[in-house]
């Protein structure tokens, strides 16, 4: 109970700090929001244009593709809003740059700090908002019946996306404990891979490839499979639980790898340090 209270007090703190950052420097805030929104739209434009050119891609119509992209943007936006600040998501950077020490001198459990420190409800919300708008447009065009259970399912899959993204970045990012310089950017590679491929429909792939892309390298679960379920292409069967199962597996594996990495870190620390923003 104390932990939960502590966690929410940290969420409150980082939420306030983010709001204050946006208010105290509105010019910068506006520039950040504008550039990130343009970036977000540009990043989904490629697949959207392909869909428009070919009248749909991978067995999905143009509107269904729009729904999938909206879902991706929404889920990725939420992940960014929760973990995007200060490289909490790109954990290999924090570890590889020797910045974990800043967290270790705080009198809070590390998990609590990692859960809360990346929270930016104001400056990190544009991705989520863009996603919500796109999804609403797609739902209207597709005339989807939006019910409470459907919304609940949507929420579950969005959370699965967040867990998968963070789980992968922490699982592979744990390599930075052992090779700080070489693996500093490994979380970013994972992130780029998910962002780039997570928006493509994966129909028509050989079964072995589909298997890989929905388990080991689960870009298919980033948006494609959840969208198919939400678009009622799959009504029942184990596939409904697949995103949840894989997300849970990745979280468990990430937790194990990260803990192991931390034990190693306590033995050797990090042989380098890069400042968090201050110029040299």
């Amino acid at each position: 109970m104390d932990n939960l209270k502590g966690l929410f007090s940290l969420y409150g703190l980082y939420g306030k700090m983010d709001l204050r950052w946006a208010i105290q420097d509105p010019g910068t805030f506006a520039m950040v929001v504008a550039s990130e929104t343009i970036g977000n739209i540009a990043s989904i434009l490629g697949v959207m244009l392909l869909a428009l050119r070919f009248g749909g891609v991978g067995g999905l119509t143009t509107d269904e593709i729009l729904f999938m992209l909206g879902f991706f943007q929404m889920a990725d936006g939420l992940t960014f809003m929760l973990f995007g600040s200060l490289n909490v998501m790109h954990i290999s950077r924090r570890v590889g740059r020797g910045q974990l020490d800043h967290m270790l001198i705080q009198p809070r459990p590390l998990w609590m700090q990692l859960m809360a420190e990346g929270f930016m409800p104001v400056s990190g919300s544009y991705g989520l908002l863009t996603g919500i708008i796109l999804t609403c447009i797609a739902c209207a065009r597709l005339q989807l019946t939006v019910s409470i259970p459907w919304l609940f399912l949507l929420l579950i899959y969005i959370l699965c996306h967040a867990a998968l993204s963070v789980g992968q970045m922490y699982l592979y990012g744990a390599a930075a404990f052992y090779r700080p310089v070489a693996c500093e950017e490994i979380s970013s590679v994972i992130c780029d891979l998910n962002t780039q491929l997570g928006k493509f429909p994966l129909a028509g792939l050989p079964p072995w490839m589909t298997m890989i892309l929905t388990t080991l390298l689960p870009v298919g679960l980033a948006a494609y499979i959840p969208s198919l379920i939400l678009l009622h292409k799959f009504q029942k069967g184990p596939i409904l639980a697949l995103p949840l199962a894989v997300a849970a597996a990745f979280l468990i594996a990430a937790s194990y790898a990260f803990r192991k990495g931390l034990h190693y870190y306590a033995k050797v620390s990090c042989n380098r340090y890069k400042d968090m923003g201050f110029r040299n």
Binding site: S9, M17, Q24, P107, A266, Y273, D275, F278
Partner: protein
């Protein structure tokens, strides 16, 4: 046997305690493009010392002696390869969270300030994360802003501070939760004379009035001597000295410098003391006060007819250490 010896000598009321602490690293070395080798580095080698409540202790040694490793062990970031590390009687890696509430740590080359926020925001952040009582927070903010002169840049963005301002703000942040133990790794790094004096005064006051235990490292040995009463010297991971400055000077020799202004050729030695340098007619002779009597020295001086001015000073502590480090290296 080893274990029981450790238990027997353990001092439970000590704030910091290192018992036969060993910390070994593996270092990769590049011999050529295709040849690598791994070398064991003993960062700390069987180091034992302890600090009692209210101690203000300097921790010095040449570069790579193991000072920062000791700080990382004390703050629970590293585990020792063998031996024991205790802070307030607890294992810092196991009890990191409660210990951090009682400890303030400052690494001179790192900043805890939130760089994209005003300085004040970092203090408000710390208040929540460290769960500092509102009354204590207000009192400490008032006191520390006055002591370290933070008023001028309290509302400025941390990213825009000068190095001196950043260091002062960092020290204030370190002390904000009224820590009982303060570990300072090169806190005076890059500070100007005024900022240094402010920082030293603040630490001395804290130690004197509140009994805060402080362990501080610095390469500025005059600063260390001004701040602390005790000095622990470490060299190549081994404890080389632990005691007061007088005691240290006794070991290294009570070095003095005699400066003599004279016309013409100065004598190459004076009662056996060699001439070290001549600059603008000022001749410097360095000697150990323990090994030569004042009477003999003055007798020798009285024979120099052309002497117009004489100055006798203690050798700067920097020189004492430079000689000591040189001796260790060779």
């Amino acid at each position: 046997m080893q274990k029981s010896a450790v238990t027997d000598t353990r001092i439970w009321d000590s704030v910091i305690e290192l018992q036969n602490t060993v910390k070994t690293y593996e270092q990769k070395q590049v011999i050529s493009l295709f040849k690598r080798q791994r070398v064991q580095v003993n960062a700390l080698n069987d180091v034992s010392f302890c600090l009692q409540k209210g101690d203000f202790c300097a921790y010095a040694g040449p570069n790579g002696a193991g000072k920062s490793t000791t700080f990382k062990l004390l703050s629970g970031m590293l585990t020792p390869t063998s031996g024991q590390v205790r802070v307030f009687g607890k294992d810092p890696t196991q009890e990191r969270i409660p210990l951090m509430k009682r400890t303030g740590i400052l690494f001179g080359n790192r900043s805890e300030l939130w760089w994209d926020h005003p300085v004040s925001a970092s203090f408000q952040w710390k208040k929540v994360v460290w769960d500092i009582d509102e009354r204590i927070y207000q009192r400490n903010v008032e006191r520390l802003t006055a002591l370290l002169d933070l008023d001028d840049f309290w509302h400025a963005f941390a990213r825009e501070l000068s190095l001196g301002q950043r260091m002062r703000a960092n020290l204030a942040l370190t002390l904000l939760h009224s820590p009982e133990l303060v570990l300072l790794d090169e806190p005076t790094l890059g500070l100007d004379v005024l900022a240094k004096r402010q920082m030293i005064a603040c630490l001395k006051q804290l130690n004197r009035e509140e009994g805060v235990t402080i362990l501080v490292t610095s390469h500025d040995l005059d600063d260390l001597r001004e701040m602390t009463r005790r000095i622990v010297l470490i060299n190549q991971g081994k404890l080389a000295f632990d005691g007061g400055y007088e005691e240290l000077l006794h070991i290294t020799g009570d070095r003095r410098v005699l400066r003599l202004r004279c016309e013409g050729q100065p004598p190459a030695s004076l009662a056996g003391i060699p001439l070290v340098s001549v600059e603008d007619g000022l001749c410097s002779y360095e000697y150990d006060a323990c090994s030569i009597s004042t009477e003999r020295l003055f007798t020798a001086l009285s024979t120099i007819k052309s002497a117009s001015d004489i100055e006798l000073t203690n050798s700067p502590i920097e020189s004492v250490f430079a000689e000591l480090y040189q001796r260790w290296r060779s």
